[in-house]
Symmetry: C2
Subunit: 296 residues, 2 copies
């Protein structure tokens, strides 16, 4: 064995006469160091060699466990956070869809209730916990436009309402879990951005590592890609914020200060992402005060 | 009181000199019969009279309870069936969405399982009932690409899987309920079309009454409106079936017989809808045999 050759598929040790190639484990630095790098002119020969059936099958069989391990190791807290925030988003969607159906369905027997209660979760809770008569008394609905349905019809609606309640509970649980994971993985980001926005930033920024390398101006516009490309293409107004729009500091800023708030926030968030990635100190509360002070 | 005048808003009794209008209850046929219909030349005067504030407010206050009752009475089994089938459709959508998320999420710890199990419900059941190790043994997955996650990460996925199982159960429950309601309301339609397609026909046909008035050719194309209008507009091929495409008789017919099967089926379904609306006999099994015979 004399030469070392690193290739998309792995690191290989190649014997002097370029007749045999052996796959090395990528991490095995000691072996690698002892070998000479493959000269440019021999690369072609080696690549042709690897096309041969015998080498290819050996390569493949040695490569498989390495790849498997690489994939195993690629599962990080990032992936868990991204799955959780996607799941929360989907649960929101599901809760809304089913709640709207419940309101329409329940409208057949007591349509007036829907006007009184705007919160979907509360609506589902009322239907599961109270009878139609109790609801009529509580909200003083004397003459209802709804029909008197037999109880087995109502049961079906109540069953749906119970399911909706559980979905809301599940969503809340996932929220707690998200906070827990983020508390370990990226405490600064969690503190300054909050769980939902922080996780969305991780998702859009393709993980903490990549997020930490992004400039603040990119972080400011994460989630506003559509508007940004429209701006670039058609010259429409440039977006000021993406997911950061939901942040309380941006929400509470006056209309002409929103852009500034988003810029300051993105600035500090990029610092937070770097602190978290390099396991730095917990500085987010300081940053938060600073941004709050500047906006006022 | 001398004249009777029926108007969009209700039936009115009008005194001889057309000075006073009193709203009659629509059903009060005896009173109505005693009165003369309002002569054509006086209609204008009466309509102008109803514009006056005093009459208008009286009209409005008397009209309100009548309208309310009309709405109450409008709630029929049709509305319940339509709500249920819509809800079932939405639950299908929700189950698919959340199941896909579960597969992706669970893929972080045991990605190989997803290939082995194609059924979403079964997948969720396996995750709730077995540990990762048990699953690996059962499906002989020796070297997994998934990471070893701590148990509190897995708990979150299992919670989602449990929820999905319950959603599937709810969907099944609603299916039973739908069959029960349809069994009372439209037994012929239920027998020949099945619960899902029958309910979809009721939804698309805007209730049993309207469905009973539709010609068979319209019933054949319910659910294919988009293709039908494309055919009319651009001269593309005419659709052969709408929701009936899902019916086992159409599904099992050979490709060039599908159109014929849908036509025969629609023919009998329109008869079923009429039988059900006018509370006729239970003839669906006969029809079914007839259609089956003709297709063979």
């Amino acid at each position: 064995m004399k030469y070392v050759f690193t290739h998309l598929l792995g690191t290989f040790a190649i014997d002097e006469k370029v007749e045999k190639a052996v796959l090395l484990k990528g991490e095995d630095e000691n072996t690698t160091k002892k070998l000479l790098p493959l000269p440019q002119e021999k690369k072609r020969t080696v690549l042709l060699l690897l096309k041969k059936k015998e080498y290819y099958s050996e390569l493949s069989s040695r490569n498989l466990p390495l790849t498997r391990e690489a994939i195993r190791n690629a599962v990080s807290n990032d992936s868990l956070i991204i799955q959780t925030i996607s799941s929360i988003g989907e649960l929101d969607q599901v809760c809304n869809l089913l709640s709207k159906r419940l309101r329409e369905w329940w409208g057949l027997c007591l349509p007036e209730l829907s006007e009184h209660i705007t919160n979907h979760e509360h609506f589902a809770e009322l239907i599961t916990s109270k009878t139609k008569k109790e609801l009529q008394t509580e909200f003083s609905i004397t003459a209802t436009m709804g029909a008197d349905l037999e109880h087995y019809h109502l049961d079906e609606m109540i069953r749906l309402a119970k399911q909706i309640q559980q979905l809301y509970k599940l969503r809340q649980n996932q929220d707690f879990y998200l906070q827990k994971v983020m508390h370990e993985h990226c405490p600064n980001l969690l503190e300054l951005a909050g769980a939902t926005i922080g996780a969305r930033l991780l998702e859009l920024g393709k993980g903490l590592k990549h997020l930490a390398t992004l400039p603040a101006s990119t972080i400011q516009l994460l989630g506003a890609e559509k508007a940004l490309f429209r701006h670039i293409k058609t010259g429409a107004r440039a977006p000021k914020y993406g997911v950061l729009f939901q942040h309380p500091l941006v929400q509470n800023a006056s209309k002409d200060q929103k852009g500034k708030a988003a810029r300051l926030l993105a600035d500090k968030l990029s610092l937070c992402a770097r602190l978290d990635y390099f396991k730095g100190e917990f500085k987010a509360p300081e940053y938060k005060k600073e941004v709050e002070g500047k906006i006022k």
